[in-house]
């Protein structure tokens, strides 16, 4: 564990100032300060609260970390509200408490689905994390990943040479495993599509990237569609979303935008990474609202277009597994991608099993909000145990869901979900394989 923050009035005052500034907006935070009726619905629908009886992991209690400071210092009635229990004084170890508590929420937005007023505690979590980050107390791996990303353009710190070699190697692997000749073009100007995955796929989940290469080769055969990756932007993952660091988030996505412009592509296609797609589609410079000369879609939108036209033939006998589908939170709840992956899986797989609940009501894997990349205590002063301990506990609902389906493969199109689910399946000794959707495409497609 790291040393606790010493009592520093200037730091506490900065926290107070950041919180009371909510009076001026944004609207969503103003509303969330005012409306919570403390009905307890969010705790019933939160995977963390359902696996841990501690009061602090009740989503309304966590959001109250900000609310009670806001009401104490942002209102002339602060002391009266304190007497009523609706406000409280800031405490000496407030920053350390926030650094722990806001990283006990995975930002999955499930609470918002069920709240009578639509209060999204993940937005308050992100606000809390932003304040923690600005004061230099984000968990170690969060800050370190951002530092590496700013230095090298990707979260894994891969060099250009390593990236090129990984692509070459994966093409060889496709040839060895399936006999298909595929190419992963890099920096091809005038290509129809720029494809950006989470760069973790290149190292940790190569079957997904191999499947993507096979997919694009199939498109080329069908109608000559061309694609490329970019040496300056081969990582869509973006920890600015998780730390609340908006400048980092915009900076990282700007790489993708600039690559699209330099290469003159018509379409930016984001791979199996929910938060990369959410940022690219809605939040960053590549967002659709910015009226760029290229459109931004998910690889699932693209695949579904072809699937609906009957362009693909699959051999279902190639997939021996019974397959269930985990909805990454940033695909289902934040960007509305939940039917497209299902249609693709149902076309490829003989035995597809739906988990319950599913789609926008599905449970978080427990590794969302960047938590999946953290295993140790990460220099968080008040952490109890490690982030791995936390994630295995928080994943209880997801484990029960997967087990109830009896499936032998869980398809999870998100690098962070994959890491969390692999560890969760191992931890519970289930023998269930975790992989992406396009891993199965490679096996089942008839070229």
């Amino acid at each position: 564990m790291s040393e606790p923050s010493t009592v520093n009035q200037a730091t506490l005052q900065k926290m107070i100032d950041q919180v009371t500034a909510i009076k001026n907006g944004p609207r969503v935070l103003q509303l969330y300060m005012d409306l919570c009726a403390k009905c307890g619905t969010c705790a019933e629908q939160c995977h963390v609260a359902q696996s841990n009886p501690e009061a602090r992991v009740n989503p309304a209690a966590r959001s109250d970390l900000i609310r009670k400071i806001y009401k104490r210092y942002g209102s002339s009635w602060g002391k009266v509200l304190k007497a009523l229990g609706t406000a409280r004084d800031i405490s000496a170890d407030e920053l350390d408490t926030w650094a722990r508590d806001f990283y006990e929420c995975s930002g999955c937005r499930r609470c918002a689905q069920f709240c009578p007023f639509g209060i999204d505690n993940s937005i308050l979590t992100r606000k809390g994390r932003a304040i923690v980050h600005a004061l230099g107390k984000s968990p170690y791996m969060m800050s370190e990943t951002q530092r590496v990303s700013d230095e090298t353009g990707n979260d894994e710190g891969q060099s250009y040479a390593a990236f090129v070699e990984a692509c070459r190697f994966l093409c060889e692997e496709v040839k060895d495993e399936c006999g298909y000749d595929v190419e992963i073009p890099i920096d091809k100007k005038g290509a129809d599509i720029l494809f950006i995955p989470a760069s973790a796929d290149l190292i940790s989940f190569p079957e997904t990237h191999m499947g993507v290469a096979v997919f694009f080769e199939k498109l080329r055969q069908l109608d000559g569609t061309t694609w490329t990756m970019a040496s300056t932007a081969f990582d869509g993952a973006n920890f600015g979303l998780f730390t609340g660091d908006d400048p980092h988030m915009m900076r990282k996505n700007q790489l993708a935008h600039d690559a699209c412009m330099t290469l003159g592509v018509k379409t930016l296609v984001i791979g199996e990474c929910g938060h990369a797609y959410r940022i690219a589609k809605r939040l960053g410079p590549t967002a659709s609202k910015n009226k760029n000369p290229f459109k931004t879609i998910s690889i699932f939108n693209l695949a579904d277009d072809y699937l609906q036209k009957g362009a693909f033939t699959f051999d279902k006998s190639k997939i021996q597994h019974s397959v269930t589908y985990h909805d990454p939170c940033n695909f289902a709840r934040s960007t509305g991608i939940f039917e497209e992956p299902r249609r693709l899986l149902q076309a490829m797989v003989g035995d597809f099993r739906e988990m319950t609940p599913n789609r926008t009501k599905n449970w978080c894997c427990g590794g969302g909000g960047g938590l999946a990349v953290m295993d140790g205590p990460e220099k968080v002063a008040k952490i109890e145990g490690t982030f791995l301990d936390y994630r295995m506990r928080a994943g209880k609902k997801k484990f029960e869901q997967i087990q109830a389906t009896g499936a032998t493969y869980v398809a999870a199109p998100c690098a962070n979900c994959k890491r969390q689910l692999m560890q969760l399946m191992d931890h519970n000794k289930t023998g269930v394989k975790t992989g992406g959707v396009f891993d199965l495409f490679m096996e089942a497609i008839v070229m």
């Binding site: 944004p26 969503v28 103003q30 403390k38 709240c115 009578p116 639509g118 609202k289």
Partner: protein, 234 residues
């Protein structure tokens, strides 16, 4: 007694009106002026008509938690619906012309009977569900751990309103004409009402109205804003 009548019946209502209206205007202006980001949560609406349908539907039926938190839904939906009916019914205590609207062709005895029996029944149901909402704050650990003085206090205030209101309905003969005369000449300087039960009920109601723009009852206008923010994807 006369001083109390004047304070609650002639002075406080103007303070209440100023605080309620001024406070609401101030809050709504603050929300309206603030920056709005896209925080769409799926399934979301892709145009204005879909947005209106979705938000109104969710507010009318409390549909976001209807199936997934039935324990709360049963209590709170019934509570809110009975309160709404009671509020609409109260219009006839203030304005004589509402009888023709609310009665829809019924005679005066029928309207009085409806007010007595249906109004009385709704008053009982509202009270019972209010007690249930208060009780659950004590018996359910995940609700108790997030409840503060404000949460209990507001429910107790509602209970006081419902108890005194039901008292007016069931424990005495109440003359509608007296309150109608009071409200009709409200701004011109009417007689202060004298019925102590009415004064008590009126006092609690005014406390609630003054509290509304500053506490969690802001969810009355606020729920439309917050649901619309999540539902909007265009």
């Amino acid at each position: 007694m006369q001083m109390v009548e004047i304070l609650i019946g002639r002075v406080l209502p103007f303070v209440t009106l100023a605080v309620f209206v001024g406070g609401l205007v101030w809050r709504l202006r603050r929300w309206n002026r603030a920056a709005v980001a896209n925080v769409a949560l799926y399934p979301a609406a892709s145009n204005q008509w879909e947005l209106i349908k979705k938000v109104l539907g969710e507010v009318a039926w409390f549909s976001s938690f209807r199936h997934d938190n039935p324990e709360l839904w049963r209590k709170t939906w019934v509570f809110h619906v009975t309160l709404l009916v009671i509020l609409v019914g109260h219009l006839r205590l203030m304005f004589a012309w509402t009888d023709s609207l609310l009665g829809v062709g019924m005679g005066p005895e029928t309207i009085d009977g409806l007010s007595k029996w249906a109004g009385g029944a709704f008053g009982i149901v509202a009270l019972v569900t209010c007690v249930m909402l208060l009780t659950r704050r004590f018996v359910r650990p995940r609700v108790k751990e997030i409840s503060s003085g404000e949460d209990f206090g507001v429910l107790i205030l509602l209970l006081c309103i419902l108890l005194t209101g039901n008292g007016l309905r069931f424990l005495m003969h109440y003359d509608v004409g007296v309150t109608r005369a009071y409200f009709a000449s409200f701004f011109l300087g009417s007689e202060a009402p004298q019925n102590p039960q009415f004064l008590l009920h009126f006092f609690f109601v005014q406390l609630l109205l003054m509290y509304l723009p500053f506490g969690k009852f802001l969810h009355i206008p606020g729920v439309f804003y917050s649901k619309a923010l999540l539902a909007k994807d265009y």
